[in-house]
Structure formats: structure tokens, C-alpha cells
């Protein structure tokens, strides 16, 4: 799924730093400056070895009553989320994963090994409040692989670009061929790191990418302000439709199945908001 010798070239300079910072920026916007308060307790039996608020970067004094009293601990300390880790939990997770790890395997499969490790340790050495599911299901690698095959047309190049007043603010190009992501690059590879891709320039970029890497280019270009609106808006489907109409969102050669999934997701989020709003 991720090619062993994946080609990663021409990510740009400012381009890539902007892209790397994007998730954090979007998360900060959607949380409105608030951070998720999580208390992590590292324990041995009925002894608390350390209680840490990682977001605040500080230790917290607590009265540790064991893993069966996490709700009480959450109430006492005012943390909405508490995670309790037995002191050997992380080592155990690694051991589970390492015993099954094959260096030749796809990295997604390798990471699933760690998730399996977490699943095995769940409610043995790893606990949480709210308590979460009784078991952590681990999706088989084969299912993920099959889903990827079904959803992504072979020999595709996906261009994702965020623009600011029509100029590229950040971009990424991902290549998929024969069941593997084989390419990661950006518009810098065409010398278009901060180029204007309004009007016909996007079509030209699509043609050049296709010629350079031989694949069908499928492009999603979105204005930065529009992206924030879609992700944080109450009715994302409306924002998407308005964005498409105003060309703040532009699509090129997007497979129908992707459009359906995107609209269904946005629709579901909108319905959820509507239900919440009507209450």
C-alpha cells in the first residue's frame, strides 16, 4: 500500500512547512483555542508513579484509587478524559507488535501490529475514562487493502492544493499505482510552488503532472478560507455547494465514487448539526 521505495521529491520549501502545519491550524480553529484536557496516569498496582497533563506540560497531584475508580478521579480532578497506563503498558504493546513484525510488510500492516498490541493490552494495562468499547477492533489489513483498491482508480495522481486568492499556498501530489502509493510530491515539481493557478493554469498543471508521472490526475483545489468554512461550519454541505459554485472549490476529473463519499460525509455532518441545532 505504501511502496517500499516510495518516491518523495520536490516538496518545496515553504510549501511543505505550510502543509505540515495545516492540521494543527485547522484543529486549533475547530477547537476555538481550547485544548483537549487529558490526564495520563502511570501506575503500578495501587501506586501512582506519575500523573501528567501533557497538553499543559505539567505533573498533577492526584489521589490514585486504582483503575476501577477512573470516573471518580475524573470528577475529582476535573479532567474530562483520563487514561491510565500500567508502567509496562507501552513495552508490552511494543513486544506484541515486535513479535509479529516482518520488515518486508507494508507499513500500514506493521502499524496495525501496534494497534493489535494496544487491543491486547486494552483493559489489562491500558484503561480510560470514559471507558470506551469493551474491545478495540482491529481492521484486518486485507480489508483496508481491498477498500483502497475499490476506492482508488489505478494509475491515479491526486493533486490537492490550497490556494490564497488563486495562488498556491500549499499543495501535495500523491501517486497510486498497482496497489501502492508510489509518489509524494507537490506543485514545486513543476516549478509552481506559489504559482497562480486560477483560470486555465490548473488545467495546464494537470496536463504537466500527467505527462511527467504518467497517470490520470484528479485535482481538488480549495481556497484556504473556504476550507476553514467547510471544516468548521455548521452545515458543511452548504459550504461545499457554495464553494463549488463560486470556484473557491475546484475539482478536476474526480471519480464519481469520491464525489459521492464526500457529499455523503458532508451531508451526514450537516444532518448531525441540524439535529443538534433543533434540540
Amino acid at each position: 500500500m505504501i511502496h517500499k521505495d516510495i518516491t518523495i521529491i520536490d516538496l518545496g520549501s515553504d510549501n511543505w512547512t505550510r502543509l505540515m502545519r495545516l492540521p494543527k491550524e485547522l484543529a486549533a480553529e475547530s477547537l476555538g483555542g481550547r485544548s483537549l484536557r487529558v490526564l495520563v496516569v502511570i501506575y503500578r498496582g495501587l501506586k501512582c508513579l506519575k500523573a501528567v497533563d501533557f497538553a499543559a506540560g505539567r505533573t498533577v497531584e492526584i489521589e490514585w484509587l486504582g483503575t476501577s475508580r477512573l470516573e471518580q478521579l475524573a470528577q475529582q480532578t476535573g479532567y474530562p478524559v483520563v487514561i491510565a497506563l500500567e508502567e509496562t503498558a507501552l513495552a508490552r504493546v511494543c513486544e506484541h507488535a515486535q513479535r509479529d513484525l516482518d520488515f518486508r510488510d507494508d507499513m500500514v500492516k506493521q502499524w496495525l501490529g501496534f494497534l493489535k498490541g494496544v487491543s491486547r493490552e486494552w483493559r489489562r494495562t491500558i484503561f480510560s475514562y470514559p471507558p470506551g468499547p469493551a474491545i478495540i477492533p482491529v481492521i484486518p489489513y486485507g480489508a483496508i487493502e481491498a477498500a483502497a483498491h475499490a476506492l482508488i482508480p489505478n494509475n491515479s495522481l491526486l493533486l490537492f492544493a490550497v490556494t490564497e486568492r488563486g495562488k498556491v499556498w500549499t499543495s501535495a501530489v500523491v501517486g497510486w499505482r498497482d496497489g501502492d502509493f508510489w509518489l509524494l510530491t507537490s506543485l514545486d515539481t513543476l516549478g509552481m510552488e506559489e504559482a497562480d493557478i486560477s483560470d486555465g493554469a490548473l488545467d495546464a498543471a494537470v496536463e504537466m503532472l500527467s505527462a511527467r508521472f504518467s497517470g490520470k490526475v484528479r485535482a481538488l483545489v480549495i481556497e484556504r478560507s473556504e476550507m476553514a468554512r467547510v471544516l468548521n461550519g455548521r452545515f458543511p454541505i452548504v459550504d461545499i455547494l457554495l464553494g463549488l459554485n463560486s470556484t473557491d472549490i475546484r475539482l478536476s476529473r474526480m471519480p464519481k465514487r469520491w464525489k459521492v463519499i464526500a457529499l455523503a460525509t458532508a451531508g451526514a455532518a450537516s444532518i448531525r448539526s441540524l439535529l443538534k441545532f433543533s434540540k
Partner: protein, 713 residues
């Protein structure tokens, strides 16, 4: 090749080498572009490049190598000839570990299929490294067959490039790196790995060399071992009483030996093939080389030991601390890898980050820098020269300006002027490592989230192990306290560790070292000799009453007073502290937090403070008057002290000239007044703006900027 290192400069054939270079990975660039790209590199002012020489690229079948016969970009000899013809010197890094963001870090894949060659965790599984795009298991560097494989590659490589003929002046190579970033791959928790057969053999051999006889080790461990081969390493932190600690601390210290022996073995092979006539070096993957890294130990068999750093500008203090440490402890303080761009999956780095942090590294004493990467290649972004030879103009301009200023200002011939040395105590560092929670997490990993900007004991257990207090957790907090407190008073200080030689200590007027109830007896003697020789030793909060084997020992304690009163969880100077002790004066006067005792030609200053979490200058400011008094008691007059404690100043001297760096590591513009003694005059070396010499001057600093002032003192 004749070479020497003196005054932190490398001399090749009698000439000082300007140790500024950039990374250029030949096998990732078309050979016809090598020469034109080298011209671009020279255009920035570099006369040296660095390159890895990856085993996995050159080995095409087990034992069969391609150095250009099959793939022209593998023609290493041609690349070196191209460099030599262009007048460009080369730092060679043949591995075997190279990372270079390659799949499997440059090791041939086939090695991992051989289970016998792999290292082992405490549970017997092979430790793996979660590096994209494939995780892989880690090899054991002490397995004879692994070493034989490495040797076979090195022999082929040496043969391909003409062995010693590739060395300067016949060839371009001026230094060789033995392995890369050897640190147990950052999985440095002592109870994580390596428990493989050959690692445990090495451990037993190391114990035997240390204790000489089974009687001695049995005495130290309170054990009944009848054979060295029956001694097993501890697999978890399990010390209930102090007498259990020597075994745990030995295993933790062995981790340092394991790393050093790994590098020593590789260095020995390279010396066999290339001779002694070339400097041999190594690099650590972190900026602040605390245990299990051992710079002093490494420089006992290497010519110099450097560090790597890829800092965002907000991580100024972690970078500053690491540079202060390396510049005090290394023979040739070098950033073997310093960010010029970044790897695609790491923290994003901008040119603004880079321009600020590069000058910050220089300001605090780095004398050599290799910019990684100067020529872009796959899996990297933001280098000044792209792999097709085109330029990123702003980046190119930055390096051109940097190198011209370094030379114009004569930085290579100057040195920072520092009179205080803050020592990390390696014994307590080991205890903190052994007490680090959530293995395989280790204290080295914490550096990536800010070694000093968050509570140092965030993931260090508060267990006491039968001692009177949690020494590991309290020590890391105390070390951070001293770092910030010395910063808050504007002290010009260096960092180091207790592995520093007596000669190194004697170069400082004052040495600060945290001490608790146990301390290595040889170290106590070394520190006492420093005091008797005229130095001022600042220690505390405890006088060590036991040695490294937890046996009674009073080398330092006999010169120290017992506390008259101890208070816990109170405020002092308006700040929360965990605990403080008060000591009565010689005449029985009321208790004070500190006192001074004269010993020989020098003195000991005992500070009975156990601080809370101190993570910034602001946290430390309440203690500034106390620290200022201590410095003055040691005969140190503050010089060039900014009125705003967030502003940082470093003074350099050399060749009759002085340079004053003033840094603003904050995200806001600051105007500060810098006080100094004497009537010096100053000029900004870039703007030529001059400042008055009436004992103080006002200076404006934009966010994240460093200004260099030329002074005549």
C-alpha cells in the same frame, strides 16, 4: 595526511580547516550534474561537502558491490575525483548506519532476515525502529558476523576509492565518520534492549574489567555469583534499597559502554583500511548529549564527537543548552548535521527557523557546521540547491551571507568567554534514565519535545529506592533550575558533565554541580582537587554521604554542614519549592539557605534548595538575587547583563577583538538596556549603528533575531 586539533580547530597539513560544509548525496543525483552542482555549492562559500556512502546502494548481491560498473550514479570514485578537481574537500560517512531517510537506513535488507544478527529486548523480541516507509529490526553491533559483514563492505568501498589515496591531499577526504547517530536508535531506556547473546557477553566482560574479582562484585551487589557467565543484567528498574542501586546503575552505565564500543569497533575497521592519517569522528542524533551518550568517552578513541540538530526557532533553549554543552566538552565542537531544510515527516522547518537557529548555534560556541542537506534529493525539502542544479534563491542567499560574515568577523579564530561551568551529574542522569517511565521511552526522546521548556521530571518516577528522596526526579529538576537561574542573571556559562577532566574544570572560575546523598568517590576527589586548586564549587542540596557503591564516603561532606532546619512544600523568594534547608553560620548565627566554606585555595558554596519545576527564565527570576550573590561570592562580576532577562548575550574574544552577540529568542520585539563595566564602544557589525560607552546602552531587537556587536574593551 598530517592533521591536528588545537584550540577547537582542525588543522590539515598545518593549515586551519574552515569547518563549514553541506551534505551532497551523489547516488541521488545524476553524475553529469555533480560538477555544476559543486560549483553552486562553492558559490555559497563552501569548500567542503559531506556525503554518506550507503551500503544498501552499493551492495547488489551479498558480497557483490557496484561502485559505478552497473549504475553511473554509484561511481563513488568518480564523484570523489569530481570533488577533488573542483577543490572541494569531503567528509566521508560510510555507515554502516546512515539513515539518509532511506528505507532500512542504508543497511542491506538481507541482514534483517538473519535472526541471529538482531538485538533483543528484555522479552526476547527484536527491537524495531518505526521509521517510514518500513519498520525494521535493529542489528546487534557486537555480533561477530554482523561486524564481518560490515568489514566486507568497508573493504570493497576502500578498494573502490583507492584506500588511502582518497585521503587529502592526494584525494578529497579530510575526515571519516565511524557509523552514524549511535544512540541505540533513541530507544535508550536501559531496560528496553540489548539483551542479545553478544551484548550480554560484552556486559559481563565490562563488569569483570570494572570489578576485577567475583568477591568485589559480590560485595558491591550483595550477591553470591560464582561465575561471571552467570551474571544476568536487570530487566526492569527494581531497586528497593540503596544497596540494589549499584547493579541497576552499572547496567545503565553499560549502555554508554555499549554505544561507545559499537562506534569504536567501526572506527577500528576504518582505521585498518584508511590508516591513522585521517581524523575520525562521530555524531549524536540529539543536541544535548546527556547519558547514555558519553562525549568524553567517545573522544578517547575518536578525534572528535559532534551532535545533530534540527531545531525550530521556538526550541532556542534546547539548542542553546546543547551547544553550550558540546562547545565545552568536545575537542572540536561540531554540528555534524544542522538543518538546511528538513525530512518530510519531521517538524516543519522554515528558512526563518534556520537563519535564527544557525546564528544561535554559532553564538553559543559551535565551531564546525555541516548543513544537511545543501543539495536537495528525494525525501527532503528546503535545501538551497535543488537536485537538478537550480537554486532556491533565498536559501542560497542566506548561506552566502552566513559564510561571508563568519569569515569577515573572524569567528573561527575567536572563542566564547565563559567562567562558569554547570555540570550534569552522570550518576544521577543514569538514575533518571533508569527511572524513566514508559519504556521504550527514554530521556533522549524528550529532547524532541523540549528538554528544558517543560518539567524535566515529567516522565521520571518519583520512587526513592530506599534513599531519603527521589534523587533521579529531583536531580533533573535541579539541573534545569540551574540552567534557567544562571540564564536569568545573565551569567556567561558553559555546560558539561561530570566526565569532564580535571584540566577542563580548572579552566572555569566556578563549577556548579547538583549533589545528593550518594556520589562517585573519584568524582568527589576530582571536585575537591578543583576547589583546592582555587576554584569555587557550588553544590547541594545534599552533602554526599555515600559513594557509588552506597558505602559511607565523606570526601566532600566533611567540608559541608548538616542542615539546621529543613522545610518542605513552602515558598521561598516568592516561588514554590519542594524543599529547602537552612544552615547555621560558623558562629551559630541564624540559618541561611547558602553558606561558603573555604577549602585550600578555593571554596565550596552549599545551596540547600530543592526547587519545583522551573521551565523558563520567568520561573527562575525569583531566585536571581540568590544566584547573583553566589556568582559575586565566587569573584564573578556580571558583565553585559540585559535588563530584560529573556534577552540572551554571549561574549566572544580572540585576536584582540571582542564580539557581543545579543539574541531575542521571543516572538515579540524587545528593547532592552545592556549594562556593562568600563567605557567600551560598540558597533553593529551589519548596520554599523554605534552605541555609547557609558556603562549601559539600549538596543532594539526584532522577534527571533540575533545582533552581532563589535566591541573594543
Amino acid at each position: 595526511m598530517e592533521y591536528s586539533i588545537a584550540d577547537q580547530r582542525l588543522y590539515i597539513e598545518g593549515e586551519p580547516l574552515s569547518f563549514f560544509s553541506g551534505s551532497f548525496q551523489y547516488w541521488r543525483v545524476r553524475p553529469e550534474l555533480w560538477a555544476p552542482i559543486l560549483e553552486r555549492v562553492k558559490g555559497m562559500g563552501f569548500s567542503m561537502i559531506e556525503t554518506y556512502m550507503p551500503w544498501s546502494v552499493h551492495e547488489i548481491e551479498p558480497g557483490e558491490f557496484d561502485f559505478g560498473r552497473r549504475e553511473s550514479h554509484n561511481d563513488l570514485a568518480r564523484f570523489l575525483d569530481t570533488c577533488h578537481s573542483a577543490g572541494v574537500k569531503v567528509l566521508a560517512r560510510p555507515g554502516p548506519h546512515i539513515n539518509a531517510e532511506m528505507t532500512y537506513f542504508g543497511y542491506p535488507e538481507r541482514l534483517f532476515a538473519d535472526e541471529a544478527l538482531l538485538a533483543r529486548c528484555a522479552d526476547g523480541s527484536a527491537p524495531s525502529l518505526p521509521a517510514p516507509p518500513r519498520m525494521f529490526p535493529l542489528p546487534c553491533y557486537h555480533h561477530p558476523r554482523f561486524l564481518a559483514e560490515v568489514r566486507r563492505y568497508f573493504e570493497a568501498l576502500a578498494s573502490a576509492i583507492g584506500g588511502r589515496d582518497a585521503l587529502y591531499p592526494g584525494g578529497p577526504i579530510v575526515a571519516i565518520q565511524a557509523d552514524n547517530e549511535c544512540s541505540k536508535f533513541m530507544r535508550a531506556n536501559p531496560f528496553d534492549w540489548d539483551y542479545s547473546e553478544y551484548a550480554v557477553k560484552l556486559y559481563r566482560k565490562w563488569l569483570e574489567a570494572r570489578y576485577k574479582s567475583l568477591d568485589e562484585i559480590n560485595k558491591a551487589y550483595r550477591s553470591r555469583h560464582t561465575s561471571w557467565s552467570l551474571i544476568d543484567p536487570p530487566r526492569r528498574m527494581s531497586a528497593a534499597v540503596p544497596a540494589d542501586l549499584p547493579r541497576v546503575l552499572d547496567w545503565t552505565e553499560f549502555g554508554e559502554h555499549y554505544i561507545n564500543e559499537s562506534v569504536r569497533g567501526i572506527a577500528a575497521m576504518l582505521r585498518d583500511l584508511f590508516g591513522d592519517g585521517v581524523p575520525m569522528f562521530h555524531n549524536y542524533p540529539v543536541t544535548l548529549p546527556v547519558p547514555p551518550l558519553d562525549m568524553t568517552g567517545a573522544e578517547s578513541f575518536l578525534d572528535f564527537q559532534g551532535v545533530d540538530s534540527y531545531p525550530q526557532r521556538t526550541a532556542y533553549h534546547t539548542l542553546r543548552a546543547g551547544v553550550k554543552y558540546t562547545s565545552a566538552m568536545s575537542r572540536l565542537p561540531t554540528m555534524v548535521e544542522f538543518s538546511s531544510g528538513s525530512v518530510y515527516y519531521a517538524l516543519p522547518l522554515t528558512l526563518d527557523d534556520q537563519s535564527f537557529t544557525t546564528w544561535a548555534a554559532l553564538m553559543h560556541g559551535i565551531k564546525g557546521m555541516n548543513f544537511y542537506m545543501i543539495v536537495e534529493r528525494e525525501r527532503w525539502y528546503g535545501a538551497p540547491v535543488k537536485s537538478d542544479g537550480s537554486l532556491r534563491e533565498r536559501h542560497y542567499g542566506f548561506f552566502k551571507d552566513l559564510l561571508s560574515k563568519v569569515r569577515e568577523w573572524g569567528l573561527e579564530d575567536m572563542a566564547p568567554d565563559r567562567q562558569v561551568l554547570l555540570l550534569a551529574n552522570r550518576e544521577y542522569e543514569r538514575l533518571a534514565n533508569a527511572s524513566t517511565l514508559m519504556s521504550p521511552n527514554s530521556r533522549l526522546v524528550q529532547q524532541f519535545t523540549g528538554a528544558l521548556e517543560q518539567p524535566a521530571d515529567l516522565l521520571v518516577s518519583d520512587e526513592e529506592h530506599g534513599l531519603t528522596e527521589p534523587v533521579g526526579a529531583r536531580y533533573v529538576r535541579l539541573f534545569a533550575f540551574w540552567y534557567w537561574a544562571l540564564t536569568a542573571v545573565g551569567a556567561h556559562f558553559a555546560l558539561g558533565d561530570t566526565g569532564a577532566s580535571a584540566a577542563l574544570l580548572s579552566g572555569y572560575k566556578m563549577v556548579v554541580v547538583p549533589t545528593f546523598e550518594f556520589m562517585d568517590s573519584a568524582l568527589q576527589k576530582k571536585l575537591l582537587e578543583y576547589v583546592e586548586g582555587g576554584g569555587t564549587l557550588v553544590l547541594g542540596p545534599r552533602g554526599p554521604s555515600m559513594d557509588e557503591r552506597m558505602e559511607p564516603c565523606s570526601v566532600l561532606a566533611r567540608h559541608m554542614r548538616a542542615s539546621a532546619e529543613t522545610r518542605t512544600a513552602e515558598q521561598i523568594f516568592g516561588a514554590d519549592v519542594d524543599e529547602f534547608s537552612l544552615f547555621n553560620g560558623e558562629e551559630g548565627e541564624a540559618g541561611s539557605l547558602t553558606y561558603r566554606t573555604r577549602v585550600g585555595g578555593g571554596s565550596i558554596i552549599h545551596v540547600g534548595l530543592v526547587p519545583g519545576a522551573v521551565c523558563s527564565v520567568a520561573d527562575a527570576e525569583p531566585f536571581a538575587p540568590m544566584v547573583d550573590t553566589i556568582l559575586r561570592a565566587g569573584g564573578l562580576e556580571p558583565a553585559f547583563v540585559p535588563s530584560d532577562a529573556r534577552i540572551d548575550v554571549a561574549l566572544w574574544r580572540g585576536g584582540g577583538e571582542s564580539l557581543l552577540f545579543v539574541a531575542n529568542p521571543t516572538d515579540c520585539a524587545v528593547t532592552t538596556v545592556i549594562s556593562h563595566t568600563g567605557g567600551a564602544r560598540f558597533a553593529d557589525l551589519r548596520t554599523r549603528e554605534s552605541y555609547g560607552g557609558d556603562g549601559s546602552f539600549e538596543i532594539e531587537l526584532e522577534p527571533y533575531t540575533i545582533r552581532a556587536l563589535g566591541t573594543r574593551l
